[in-house]
């Protein structure tokens, strides 16, 4: 494995831990978006650009957006 791949793995572990450690849901959602981006970089470093493209869009845009909308709905109904 080369340095880029080690860096990507380390960044993924770091970002994942940060997501778990943040307890406030809205901040956590934004952090999970960053995690999706880092995961995309990981896939790219491991020569899977096709998967990286999906992961960047789904992980850093689609998923956080849907979680935020769900959070807004929960707050409204409370």
């Amino acid at each position: 494995m080369i340095a880029v791949q080690w860096t990507a793995l380390a960044l993924t572990a770091l970002a994942g831990t940060v997501v778990v450690l943040i307890r406030e849901p809205r901040r956590q959602t934004v952090a999970s978006g960053v995690f999706g981006l880092v995961l995309g970089l990981l896939f790219f470093a491991f020569q899977a650009p096709d998967v990286a493209l999906s992961e960047i869009v789904v992980g850093s845009v689609a998923l956080p957006a849907m979680v935020l909308l769900a959070l807004a709905k929960i707050e409204r109904s409370e």
């Binding site: 096709d50 493209l53 869009v57 689609a62 409204r76 109904s77």
Partner: protein, 252 residues
């Protein structure tokens, strides 16, 4: 269940999982192991057989297109299910309510978002169309491009005044796009059955390797899946925005 029973149950299952998972992980091939037989065959033959230079897409939309059909129908059903559940409480009188709410919420986005959002949406559309149509040539394909296309809608929602976008939300066209894309991909499979007697056989001329119109049915499948995925993601997102902005279904 008491706390002790739950703890015992958890410990038993955790040990079981650790044993099974450890057994499975120990049997994985090493990081630099040789390719399997299927992978070696595809890596050396896909491009010359199908003339699509992205062998990942050659596999996903030709050799194993039937798997992709199942995955695509999964997204289709998931989006339809979400739409049906969320649209349950819809009501025509909400249009008037929407106008009132719009006045209340008008200044909710910053100038920066309003200025750059539409521009970024245009970029997302161009990039999405490129990724879909060049799926057989470079990394990408119908799913990736479709998701990028649906983010254009997300950008419009985020950038514009949320409610203005919500009132013109294109739910009906999105449903049509989703259905047409899913049906189109299945029809391409049936085309293989009709013209080459095998479901999802590549029945169109393969063309020259590397040109935009090559690889037979693969670009067509990419376009169909791209439309379907863009429609499905955008539909779920639009329904959720609908719920949030108008507060519909909150009391049901």
């Amino acid at each position: 269940m008491t706390r002790r029973v739950r703890l015992a149950l958890f410990l038993a299952s955790a040990v079981g999982l650790a044993v099974v998972l450890g057994f499975a992980l120990a049997g994985l091939p090493g990081f630099d192991a040789d390719l399997g037989r299927y992978a070696s065959f595809v890596a050396s033959h896909a491009v010359s057989q199908r003339r699509g230079t992205n062998s990942v897409v050659d596999v996903a939309f030709d050799y194993r297109a039937i798997d992709t059909l199942a995955e695509e129908l999964m997204i289709f059903v998931a989006a339809v299910g979400a739409a049906v559940l969320l649209a349950h409480a819809r009501d025509e009188s909400d249009e008037g309510q929407a106008a009132d709410l719009e006045a209340l919420r008008a200044p909710s986005t910053s100038d920066l978002l309003r200025t750059f959002g539409p521009g970024l949406a245009a970029v997302a559309i161009v990039l999405g169309v490129y990724i879909v149509t060049h799926g057989h040539l470079s990394p990408g394909g119908g799913f990736q491009g479709g998701v990028i296309l649906s983010t254009a809608l997300v950008l419009v929602f985020v950038a514009g005044r949320t409610l203005a976008a919500a009132r013109t939300r294109p739910l009906a066209p999105l449903e049509v796009a989703e259905a047409v894309g899913a049906a189109g991909f299945a029809l391409i499979g049936l085309g293989g059955l009709v013209f080459a007697s095998v479901f999802f056989e590549n029945f169109l001329p393969l063309g020259t390797k590397g040109s935009l119109l090559s690889a037979g049915t693969i670009p067509l499948s990419n376009v169909a899946v791209g439309i379907e995925v863009a429609g499905a993601f955008a539909l779920v997102f639009a329904e959720l925005v609908d719920q949030m902005v108008l507060g519909r279904g909150g009391d049901t």
